[in-house]
Assembly symmetry: C2
Amino acid sequence: MQCSFKDISKLINKSNHIIITGHLQPDGDCLGSMLALYLYLQDIGKKVQVVLDDEIPLSFRFLPSIQEIIRPSQTLCSQADLIIVLDASDIERIGNLSTQTSCPILNIDHHKSNTNFAEFTYLDLSAAATGEIICDLFDYLHYDPTQAIANCLYTAIATDCGFFRYANTTSATLRKAAFLVDFGAQPNLISESLQMRAPEYIAILTGVLQTLEFFHNQQIAAITVDLTKNPLLDSEGFIDYPRYIEGIRVAIMFKIVDENTIRVSMRSTDIDVSQIALSFGGGGHLRAAGCTLTDNYLNAKDKILAAIENMLRDD
Amino acid sequence: MQCSFKDISKLINKSNHIIITGHLQPDGDCLGSMLALYLYLQDIGKKVQVVLDDEIPLSFRFLPSIQEIIRPSQTLCSQADLIIVLDASDIERIGNLSTQTSCPILNIDHHKSNTNFAEFTYLDLSAAATGEIICDLFDYLHYDPTQAIANCLYTAIATDCGFFRYANTTSATLRKAAFLVDFGAQPNLISESLQMRAPEYIAILTGVLQTLEFFHNQQIAAITVDLTKNPLLDSEGFIDYPRYIEGIRVAIMFKIVDENTIRVSMRSTDIDVSQIALSFGGGGHLRAAGCTLTDNYLNAKDKILAAIENMLRDD
């Protein structure tokens, strides 16, 4: 059932023990929204727990109360009378928790791909982030965010619109960010925490940038990340280097997971890379897609390049 | 004389031929503010010219009317009855134009280091960018920006606050950005244009990253850019690499302009680098400052490092 903020307010009021969760491979929007709602529900005196069936990336450890996020367990879920699933468009995306619960689920999300899996759904496709919806909810509830909540929501919103760079940035997005700054959000602390890297990062980046290759008349640029040499390597943002080169229509990042597993990310300016990803069992969006090939690096590279060149030729 | 928006409005009204200029080594705030004001003055029917005594970096060629910016000449200046200097805190910062003019100067700026050099000065230290002041001026004048002007001002504001990442980002900054999006500013087009690089960029960046050095117990990180090898090199953003390393308190970029000219940019987390820049004849802000040393690279580096280490020790 599609629900309103009024319905959400009623659901929360009548629930005594609420579990908040989000999607696997959590991002800033997922974690920021979870923690903002968690802190609010605590503030109004609810029994509430934040649960996630995945590791939390180290770069988010600056978020207030992030250490309170726990892994799901059977006991936990059997006691709850409401589960709030944030920023996940699909029940599979919340992991193990989905098989452990029989209590009603309220899903708050902004993804077009939302499968309407929950008993109660609040879906706002115009929101750049789930964090925007939580902002609107607080506004509806006349709740003034604390500084901790403001920082969580600013992180949620800013990370999902690339710090107000992506096409999903609306004036409403920016006004909510302004509202959060008024309530104490600290853009510089958030941004610096998110950008902070270990001292060895620059050497790793330098190594990755040295793998840059051009193909198809400088219309394709590819970089390669070798995870067998450095399994903990965080390749977040690396694909932007081949992506923002003049004349490049398709950027590729090959990640060598092991000898026979090659993970491929693609970005394009004008061709549908989700088709290519799909043909190798992957998926994604028109301009940003990915897949995993069970093959060695050179074969995988040949296959992906052939598929892209084929599409560029047809164009 | 410190002046108000009312004074600015009167000055503009009584002037027939206005020249707009900005500082050498123009950045997004300088160029975006210049073009926004230029387009406005054109729109209200003034004879107006945009003049700059320096090269325009290629990354800004997407800005509306950027091709209208011309180099200064004697004839030009002798005809003007008002010169508006934007985003420059010092008369030397506008280059040759300063020696060619006897007509009154209106200076609109947001830098603490402003020397009050003009007949009329509008200085707002709380503004993250001169673009914010131009926004306020348009608001005072009840002028609705065109899409071209909105894109110029969004560029001005966003570049000077690091796309809403720096500590100078206030809720007013974000609300002005929202206002500009309402009037057609396109954050994604601006951001993509600014991020776009020439194909050789990554090789250059890789070379620069290889110059990374650490000093003072890994509290200082420095990179060196050799402009004698590559005079056209755009080093914008390079300083963020040493800056966002865990534990680094001061990041430095040395630019070798020629054998005896070393340009220095500094960023800090907790010490006042503008003091150091000032002591070498430069200037800037508390956490971001720069200066130019007439010395060889090794001497310049020693002097700057000694000054920073001295301040870190006193801390």
